[in-house]
Symmetry: C2
Subunit: 322 residues, 2 copies
């Protein structure tokens, strides 16, 4: 099969399209013919050498999510039909023509959603659901702040937060992205190209989804109201925070919650997938939520897709298709 | 009535015993004749000017917990008998001969527990219960690290952690205190008079109860295993943490949780008290848990009690009695 392969770490020149061995489905596994795969910030960071694949996943083939068809099932797998349209998260290896995954991590693609749209769903919606619901415990009537609000995860988070009954504020350094999120339900936008956000919020928030990490930790703490939860999903502005106001964490009874999706073991992925299928998939199937499609590139033009992501110019998900 | 009064902020000389007006129970309130009151670190910090009483509580009379008898009930209060033995938390004013509190914040004192013992229960056990159960979500089979393990809150936390099915490691700078906590169920002790703790733990922990704040934040993060929760109850080693390893919070999917008891509104105190009465009070009544009594001072010798707390030499609670 063909697959994207990272030949070492560095710039876009380490990306190659190569012929590699097609994987074989083992017990409880399913072989998926990949039709499309989302591109994630993590793929770019991995290309630069900063985010190796967890154990048990392809080390040199990137790709954390896919949409495709079941091509074959492994020994002992029942209830999964060859040809079924499926999507899901993997720890790596999705930017290939085939991948294997555990049958219990498959998510059926609802009718009416095509492969490209489906490939934009798993990472964005599962990550945002987990961050807002499982970790952030967002409740009806609360107020959520979503940073970098034009990203795939963020545009999913906005829809999920509204579905939970929360109101949403969003930040971006790109004015045109802020202009577009109002349609998703963001009621307050802050353009951070010209400064900070905490003092410009109309009032404190209950939950923050943050991708910046160290560089914005103190300002995030300032933005939280009593019992607020800061869910950190990335460290794009550094892995170390200087002079953290711990007294504020105490006084406000705040929580700083770190989360990553990729390294989770199978035993944790399964209940999340099951909860997602039960609660969120019906919303997607009915069209009450939808992935925000930013750009679709042929897999053979992965370099251009990486460049688009690194330029921060795309609103919504970047998807790769075979 | 007589009451301890702080005349300004500073050393032990600001403490005075004065004649003040006896409070009057309003609607839904109860007047309690205080027989004993626990001394807490917060009382010492407040004396130094660092921890003012929250709104609605006496600003100059210290004391966060009491044991005594119902002396009178306010308008509309039923189901509370004059003479009933009660204990509880207040936002201030417990180091006085009388106090008023809401009827729903009263905790009955079980038979067999005297006033001095009872005065050692509310702050230590409610704080530790809330930190371990409500905030820290400690589960059967987990591993808990309790800092300053000889304190009132810590000795309660050790018993509660064991009751939850957790194993307990403890730190102290005082060897003799570490020698005594084994009897409470601490299975691993670390003497921090000669250095750090994280690298000396036999293995990572799931939950940490911390009173040090900024000064120990990074080392606490190092001590946590995957999905670990650091519950911070104090900032005795500073309110600011330098160079916090946010990337570790992410990778480990850790949580940093701040908590304070004193400033909580009535609406939050009531469900905590109700849960405590249902779950923990039976353990205390049956003698399966007990407050660790460190020293009892007459209220008139409060200066000596403050000095004993500031010397960090007492193992367990310091209690004041009229």
């Amino acid at each position: 099969m063909r697959a994207i392969v990272y030949r070492g770490a560095g710039g876009i020149d380490v990306v190659d399209l190569a012929e590699v061995a097609t994987p074989v489905a083992g017990p409880d596994q399913v072989l998926v013919r990949v039709r499309a795969s989302g591109l994630n910030r993590a793929d770019v960071i991995q290309r630069r050498g900063g985010y190796p694949a967890p154990a048990g996943w392809p080390a040199d083939i990137p790709g954390l999510e896919y949409a495709g068809e079941v091509a074959a099932v492994g020994p002992g797998v029942s209830g999964v039909e060859v040809g079924a349209r499926v999507m899901g998260l993997v720890g790596g290896g999705a930017q290939a023509e085939y991948l294997v995954t555990h049958r219990r991590e498959l998510i059926p693609i609802p009718a009416g959603i095509d492969f490209e749209q489906a490939a934009a769903i798993p990472e964005a919606f599962l990550t945002a659901y987990d961050a807002l619901v499982t970790r952030g415990r967002t409740r009806d009537g609360e107020r959520v702040l979503v940073h970098a609000v034009g990203s795939g995860v963020s545009t999913a988070a906005v829809q999920l937060a509204r579905w939970l009954g929360a109101t949403v504020a969003g930040t971006s350094r790109t004015r045109s992205k802020l202009d577009r999120v109002a349609a998703l339900g963001v009621s307050e936008t802050i353009d951070t190209s010209s400064g900070g956000f905490a003092h410009r919020l109309s009032r404190p928030v209950d939950v923050i989804l943050d991708f910046f990490g160290g560089g914005s930790l103190n300002e995030n703490l300032q933005a939280l109201g009593p019992k607020g939860r800061l869910v950190i999903l990335g460290t794009l502005q550094g892995g170390v925070a200087e002079k953290v106001d711990v007294a504020r964490i105490l006084r406000g009874r705040l929580e700083v919650i770190g989360t990553v999706m990729r390294s989770r073991p199978h035993d944790e992925r399964v209940p999340l997938v099951e909860e997602f299928i039960a609660r969120v998939l019906p919303e997607l199937a009915a069209g009450r939520m939808a992935p925000v499609m930013g750009a679709v590139f042929p897999m053979t033009e992965l370099a251009a897709a990486h460049a688009a992501m690194e330029a921060n110019e795309v609103f919504g998900k970047i998807v790769l298709r075979w």
